[in-house]
Amino acid sequence: MKIDMKKEDGKLLVELEGRLDTNTSPELESTLGECLENAESLVFDFEKLRYISSSGLRSLLVFQKKMNSQKGSMVIRNANDLIMEIFEATGFCDILTIEK
């Protein structure tokens, strides 16, 4: 998986390419790590993300909780149909902010 990260003031934009699964989610958690400190908003661009697994969803849950705890926002953009189906099936649509 490729992670492209841009930070501007309090806004963090993260573009993911490939698969977010058991093998790649630890890398994402590690890469974002300290960058989330004091971030006001976290935006994930999933345009090039092909697939997300249970482990990937767990990572998103961790980021969402982190942002909630520091009263920031987290948004997911451009998720493909397959990923949208997974979000809908697992109930993540109700806890994540998703923009098409």
């Binding site: 058991t22 790590g33 400190e37 249970s54 482990s55 982190k66 705890s69 099936a89």
Partner: protein, 574 residues
């Protein structure tokens, strides 16, 4: 107990005190178990006398009840809906003396396994009874069975109190009682438990599994471990198995790996509590480098004597796996009895046992045979229970519930002195019967476990969905598995599961054979799915101590979740 108290650590002194207090409770319980009906009837008469002036007591004429028989004639069998209006008035309009005369300062939020959470009153009297057995008796029992070998060391407690305890309009607290009580002792927890405050009361993004494991591994002298459910302990042990290198490196250097999630404040606070432990790290590395074919827990913690938690019913799988693969027989298991938001019903009387003894001075017990349907004339008191039979349990407690159907099925396993011992079987409403086959949670579990054993894989967890859209209707198992031998094909798992299900419930086997029900379908879930489910529920505010395994998928949220995370399916195609 002939210990030099002054030489004991604070944990040792605390454990000693609990054991001393527990011994008195233990002796009293032993006395009661020799004539349980006498004490259970006395308790009932006290409850009726004390509550005769409540609205419910007047309605049921408590004042003129002088025997169990009169009680059963005058007081109807009840369920939650019979009290919901009273409870609404108690909590929203602060009315008193409706169903309970005792002070009520707390309402348990039920786990909501079967639907919306309920407000379950817990009077101060009921809390005292639970405390007496859970914080005193248990330690008296441990001292009786293990001597003082476990006194002088801390425990690795995996309890987390992330859930919120709120308050109701009437001023009473509302939430999990365990969370409320633990907050009262928060400052003293480090003396008794290895996990730091940051893990016991975690911020939302803290990797608590790492913290429990890390701080536990740092202390070689741990003498026990405890968790709400045995599943948590198994999850932690598996975490150590997979992540031991990071854990050991961090212990060696006194650091926390940057990949471990936590806020910078939490990291800073934790780093202030730890120092490099190169000797301990060397010792641990040598143990873990030997591999995991043999139980590693006794090597890592040579003084560990017992593990405590709920390890029966749906949690039996986990308790057995822990003993078989990770702890061996030298570390004993204290499998807690049946406790619910409505009260404490049974307590263990020995180690490594699935059955637990009824507590005659906790609640008044009645039992409806499982095969009696709704025929309440067959309800019996504890002295009439038959060993080997299964019953639904009904309770009258000190918190305003009378002849209340718990909807829990129990099995009468035997007797301790003259008191029946019981095992929790399943939630009655979680029975599955799509074509009259009545499959219990136990049968579902046995089928899944035996399949894992026969084929040699690790069953992380499983659930079953009654697939009523299929034609013919069928069972659909979901399984998360690990370490699948390379020569085992998925269709073999499905086949063996089908055979084991037929053995566990011959009625289901017969229905599949005759085509009344379709062949069982198997969905293999992605790795970490059950861990994700747990995290998701915790993030929605469910208390960790109330998060039970999903055995029967019975709501749309669960259905969508597990279907959404299915890796692949195996079914018989006609």
């Amino acid at each position: 107990m002939s210990l030099d108290l002054e030489k004991l650590s604070p944990a040792g002194q605390g454990n000693y005190q609990k054991a001393v207090q527990g011994k008195t409770v233990l002796e009293n319980l032993n006395k009661m178990t020799k004539d349980p009906m006498k004490y259970n009837t006395e308790l009932l008469m006290h409850i009726l006398e004390d509550n005769k002036c409540t609205e419910y007591g007047k309605k049921c004429d408590f004042a003129n009840i002088h025997s169990v028989e009169e009680f059963q004639k005058k007081v109807p069998v009840s369920m939650y809906d019979d009290y919901s209006e009273y409870i609404w008035r108690m909590t929203e309009e602060s009315e008193e003396n409706l169903i309970c005369a005792y002070p009520i300062n707390h309402y348990n939020k039920s786990s909501g396994t079967m639907g919306n959470p309920k407000r379950l009153p817990m009077s101060d009297n009921s809390i005292e009874i639970s405390n007496r057995y859970l914080t005193k008796y248990i330690y008296g029992l441990l001292e009786e069975k293990l001597g003082d070998t476990w006194f002088d060391g801390r425990s690795m407690s995996l309890t987390e109190s992330a859930a919120h305890v709120g308050s109701l309009k009437c001023g009473a607290s509302y939430g999990a009682l365990s969370v409320k009580l633990s907050l009262q002792y928060r400052d003293y927890l480090p003396m008794f438990f290895t996990s730091p405050d940051e893990a016991a009361y975690p911020e939302p993004d803290t990797n608590t599994r790492y913290l429990h494991a890390r701080f536990g591994l740092m202390d070689k002298n741990i003498t026990s471990a405890g968790a709400s459910f045995f599943s948590f302990f198994l999850e932690l042990i598996r975490y150590i198995e997979k992540n031991w290198e990071i854990l050991v490196n961090d212990i060696e250097t006194g650091t926390i790996d940057p990949s471990i999630k936590m806020s910078s404040d939490v990291r800073k606070s934790l780093l202030a509590k730890i120092e490099p432990q190169p000797e301990r790290a060397k010792e641990l590395r040598e143990i873990f480098e030997q591999g995991f074919d043999e139980p590693f827990v006794p090597k890592v913690w040579p003084n560990m004597r017992y593990i405590m938690g709920v390890g029966t019913g749906g949690f039996k799988t986990y308790a057995e796996k822990i003993s078989e693969k990770y702890t061996g027989d030298s570390i004993k298991q204290l499998r807690m009895g049946l406790t619910a938001s409505e009260g404490l019903f049974s307590v263990p009387y020995d180690l490594d046992r699935d059955d637990a003894v009824l507590v005659p001075d906790s609640v008044f017990y009645e039992f409806l045979p499982l095969d009696a349907g709704e025929d309440f004339s067959q309800i019996v008191t504890m002295d009439k229970l038959e060993v080997g039979k299964d019953y639904e349990i009904l309770i009258t407690n000190c918190s305003g519930f009378y002849r209340y159907r718990m909807r829990d099925a129990i099995h009468v396993a035997g007797k301790y002195n003259d008191t029946p011992t019981i095992e929790f079987l399943f939630r009655i409403d979680q029975n599955v019967s799509i074509m009259g086959e009545k499959t219990t949670e136990v049968a579902l579990r046995v089928a899944a476990e035996n399949t894992a054993k026969e084929l040699g894989f690790d069953l992380i967890d499983f659930s079953m969905y009654p697939d009523l859209d299929a034609s013919p209707v069928r069972y659909l198992y979901f399984m998360e598995i690990d370490n699948l031998p390379s020569d085992v094909r998925p269709k073999e798992i499905r086949y063996v599961l089908e055979q084991n299900l037929a053995a566990a419930n011959p009625s289901m086997g017969d229905k599949v054979k005759r085509g009344i029900c379709g062949a069982t379908k198997l969905n293999i879930l992605e790795p970490d799915t059950y861990m994700l489910y747990r995290d998701l529920m915790l993030s929605k505010g469910v208390a960790s101590g109330q998060l039970k395994p999903v055995r029967v998928i019975n709501n749309e949220m669960q259905r969508k979740f597990f279907f959404g995370l299915t890796d692949y399916s195996v079914e018989v195609v006609k």
